[in-house]
């Protein structure tokens, strides 16, 4: 019983760490690259405009998709590792 408890605590901590990492990337591409850092990226040309514009209209969305699938894949491995899957 005690061991199971530690296991599930470890699982939850690993999950929260993974979420934190993913959300840092999530915020970096959208609030960072697409909005706040856009002036800094204005030197990088992309198809007639700059990298910040690309992130605002396409880059963020593509990153979001990758993030969700990455999270789902990592969590499946975590479920198995801790024996908490269904």
């Amino acid at each position: 019983m005690a061991e199971e408890k530690t296991d599930s605590t470890g699982y939850w901590k690993a999950n929260v760490r993974l979420i934190t990492g993913c959300l840092i990337v999530w915020a970096f591409v959208s609030y960072g690259c697409a909005i706040l850092f856009r002036p800094l990226l204005s030197g990088i040309p992309v198809g007639g405009t700059d990298l910040g514009f690309w992130f605002a209209q396409q880059g963020s969305i593509l990153t979001f998709i990758v993030l969700i699938f990455f999270y789902a894949w990592k969590m499946n491995k975590l479920d198995q590792k801790f024996g908490l899957g269904e």
Partner: protein, 598 residues
Amino acid sequence: MSQFAINLLFVGASFALYIGIAIWARAGSTKDFYVAGGGVHPITNGMATAADWMSAASFISMAGLLASGGYANSSFLMGWTGGYVILAMLLAPYLRKFGKFTVPDFIGDRFYSNAARLVAVICLIVASVTYVIGQMTGAGVAFSRFLEVSNTWGIWIAAFIVFLYAVFGGMKGITYTQVAQYVVLIIAYTIPAVFIAFQLTGNPIPMFGMFSTHTESGVPLLQKLDDVVVALGFRDYTADVDNKLNMVLFTLSLMVGTAGLPHVIIRFFTVPKVADARWSAGWALVFIALLYLTAPAVGSMARLNLMTTVYPEMTGQVEDYEAASSEPILYEDRPDWIRTWEETGLITFNDLNNDGRIQLYNDANPEFAETAEARGWAGNELSVNNDILVLANPEIANLPSWVIGLIAAGGIAAALSTAAGLLLAISSAISHDLIKTMINPKISEKGEMLAARISMGGAILLATYLGLNPPGFAAQTVALAFGIAGASLFPALMMGIFSKRVNNKGAVAGMLTGLILTLLYIFTYLGWFFIPGTNMLANTPDNWILGISPLSFGAVGAIFNFAVAFAVSSATEEPPQEIQDLVESVRYPKGAGTAIDH
């Protein structure tokens, strides 16, 4: 065959399909009715979620918003997709593990309080009802434009179709019709976009075409667009915004609002396992992105097409934009699609200087006023409603008439699929949370089904009534629905999962704080209950606190919700042990089983 007959054929065929599905997918139990039996494949659910999510606003209005606002309106793109990241990581899997039927179910049980449940029910109903009005009016517009019936008849037909599959099939009927509606709407959206991208850039994939070279001028498309609009006194299409704080908060409000909207969350209760809820969110975003990556291309290309239609001299390589932008076309020579849309009143021309030419420029720009005066222009003469860009696309690109029929079916599919999802969220909150949980827990399975069907019917009648008599605030739906979902529901759900310490008092105080602050801020600038003239301050950036617009306030409301909930909880007692065990259990997928009845 006439255009009318083709439109009728496409729309009629799509309706036959939806009704066929309704007959096949009748709900036999409350579990069928609320969560489609709980056995929907994650990819199927992803597709249904995409249709559930993409409303008449996404299908019809978003490209127009991007076309008129350029970079500044990118918030819609990021906000309405980024919400799925937080939904997939912070809410969906745990709420699926919890395994009940509705969003207030979780809030009421986790915070062991019927007050919390009631607040959640009220937030859900207000957010969903305001949202559904836009769907009904959107369907009405699509019907009246393409099927030559009156707006009123259009709304009644839409209501009747939704009634057929939502009342009999519940979530089960809705799920499978949404899949069909997704297929219809994505094909309808993509085909004209592909043709337009190919015509302008030689690249048939719109999302790549947008960043390629404009064939006729030899310069990149977006640079060409910047040059053209600037020559007429408009802001650069790609221009940066000055108020970054407001853009960040607006994007964040749309994201937390998206994650907190009940009609989206309940879709994730229909998959068999916790892991499926995670995958399904990814698939939903893939299907949404197919449209959202195309929308900015449609917006920018349609804007360029419109400008070069009016100023043909600006189409190809231009040496002197000053000269090229002074020669608009004669009104007599306008293309057919402008004539068609003038009949609907969505494009209007007013020859202010009586020269017979169409002057389309930014007459609100003081720096351009001198140029305009020197040219003898007396003001902008052509007003184009943003919403027609997608609907008029096939005509602008000279596509065959069956594509127009497809667009008609697609616009109606987008409106109906979202309306059905919202109506289910409303009716399940009434029959399950109010009647079964709070008023009469002894109600039988059969009785609850009947209550669910009656409340669904009632919700459809209410939505139809509001669609026929839209209140003045229909256009403010975005602020209201996203503000409420983001400031009240999202934080409560997230704290319920990620904190064991937040108790009943903290949650109720937090939700009410978020809700009331957000409503106060919106009403201050947009009028009490949106009644025109009752706003206390003019809705201009100078009056906004720290430059935060009422549309962006949901994120601020959410922050206050978190702060108050934690403060009140830490000053009062811990939640009882069984509630802490409940939180523990939703965190681990093991033992989820299928959605349970109680």
